[in-house]
Amino acid sequence: MTTVSDSPSDIASAEAQPSAQPTAAPAEKAGRRPRNLSRLIDWLGLLPFLAFVGVFLVAPIVVNVWTSLTPKGSFSFDAIGKLFAPQYVDAFASTINLSVVTAVAGGILGLVLAWALVTADRPRWLRSLVLSFSALASQMGGVPLAFAFIAAVGAQGSITVMLRDSTGWDLSDNIRLSSFWGLALVYLYFQVPLMTVLILPAFGALKKQWSEAAMSLGASRFQYLRDVVVPIMWPAVAGSLLLLFANSFSAYATAYALGGSQLNLVPMLIGFFVSGNVMLDESFGAALVTGMIAIVVAALSLRSLLERKSRRWLS
């Protein structure tokens, strides 16, 4: 955010300069633009982009954070403090819970799939088929995915009906898609392949010489894993998990279409607030958004720190 707020003042100071310039101008070589003027022109080219991003991205966020910090026109933490009422602590806790569950489960399964992709090369067509579909499935989500799951395991879904007809067992009684675990199941559909796709380059960067060197020095498979693979891979794995966490924390469409609006989740609360379905004061709605941004930004900033760390070995 600093760059944005800096830039106008930068331009302003650059603008102020040329007026003071005439006295210095004769000293400049003819035909060579003064440095400050050239700098000003550089910024001018960036101006439309800055203005666009400023109006449609930065201003809404800044105004939102500002509103959440000034509930009654003056600076106070009242609105932020309300987030700590039990109902909202519960919303944040269950959203974090959902995100951690799907990130960890998706992470483990995604790692298994990535391991299989890296180590198997025998049926080549099968391997590349799985790779392509992982890439596609990692991009899925939103409304269509939700309805696909409702069509499969919803109350009238194909698989539910098939199982009910053949065994008499009702699947939809046990997994309701609009429940916490139902949502987690659907999220895993994109979280698992996303983990695979994110971690594959790191797997691919493990050099064959490292395992050969370790083995020739007498290391066992386990020792190689513990002393070489894990220390090198953990920042990449942890970074990917953080991305999965943020991915699921900010998901709205999938959860909404599954009927998850009955669940006490932060994105749902924000949705209620924006559509005006609940009477809330403006500053509190803004505080919810601020809280969500803070968590996602924290997760993704940590991820970029870890990425820097993992780039040392895996480049």
Binding site: D42, A59, A116, S138, Q139, G142, Q156
Partner: protein, 284 residues
């Protein structure tokens, strides 16, 4: 799609022995089955009725619905407009930065990743707060979604175009063309843009895929686009919703496959900076 690029994933054949290769095959088959289950289910649920193994009735029902076509057309219109706006905003800006002011590239790049960190649901919260205070009429028009879609697509579109330009030696291209007597417009049209075709195409496809699937902003700002329509009929006509979902998943896949062909065909091997360019499309 960059992630489809297999070149950086070398199979470590030394570790593969017959003993464990069946484990991988089982994992592959389980993964494929699980990937396909919801798709096959949505197709079979959407295109069948009790007693009728295959029927297009549910789609015909939707076709007669007066709200279907406007929603679909609105989404297509928004996708085209958002793509054109993205290109109109980014191509001149990035050309300027690459040729004239590379010093400022990090500023623009930093800004371009910000939407990646801001969830769509948070952006809509801030946007409704800000615009209702500043310009109350603005959010009423459905076209007010366009600039927000441009912003949401920014991490994807910026990186595609930026990577395309980095792969070219723009400064040399520019001075070669101008030294041969071409004006700035001529250079842009005849020398630079043709070389950027693949980058512009992949940026456009990413933007289109994102807009066609976007739900949070459209629904909360009360505009009826295609995904919003699907949710509306979801409760009353689950079969039609399943059929539409199946078709739109297939549509997204066609776009993403086109994307991977477009990027693979471009002469420049993408750098690792663009690895994640394709992430987070169509889901928020």
């Amino acid at each position: 799609m960059v992630v489809l690029d297999q070149s950086n994933v070398r199979p470590a054949s030394s570790r593969t022995d017959a003993r464990c290769s069946w484990v991988q095959i089982v994992i592959f088959i389980v993964a494929l089955v699980l990937f396909f289950v919801p798709l096959v289910a949505s197709a079979s649920f959407g295109f069948s009725l009790p007693g009728q193994p295959f029927t297009l009735d549910s789609l015909a029902l939707v076709g007669r619905d007066s709200a279907f076509l406007p929603g679909l057309l609105a989404s297509i219109q928004l996708a085209i407009l958002a793509t054109l706006c993205s290109l109109a905003l980014l191509v001149p800006t990035l050309l300027w930065l690459h040729i004239r002011a590379p010093r400022l590239l990090p500023v623009a790049e930093w800004l371009s990743v910000v939407p990646y960190v801001i969830p769509a649901i948070a952006l809509v919260g801030g946007a409704s707060l800000f615009f209702r205070a500043v310009a109350p009429g603005f959010l009423v028009s459905i076209y007010s979604l366009v600039p927000f879609y441009v912003v949401l697509a920014l991490p994807l579109t910026y990186r595609s175009i930026d990577a395309g330009m980095r792969a070219l030696d723009l400064k040399t291209l520019y001075s070669a063309s101008t030294s041969l007597g071409a004006g700035a417009f001529h250079t842009l049209w005849r020398a630079i843009l043709p070389n950027l075709k693949a980058a512009l195409l992949s940026a456009s496809l990413l933007c289109v895929a994102l807009v066609l699937g976007e739900f949070a902003l459209a629904s909360l700002l009360l505009h009826s686009t295609f995904p919003v329509y699907m949710v509306q009929i979801g409760a009353s006509q689950p079969r039609a919703a399943a059929a539409l979902s199946f078709l739109s998943i297939l549509g997204t896949w066609v776009i993403l496959i086109a994307l991977s062909l477009a990027t693979r065909r471009s002469a420049s091997p993408r750098t690792s900076r663009t690895k994640h360019a394709s992430l987070k499309v169509g889901k928020e």
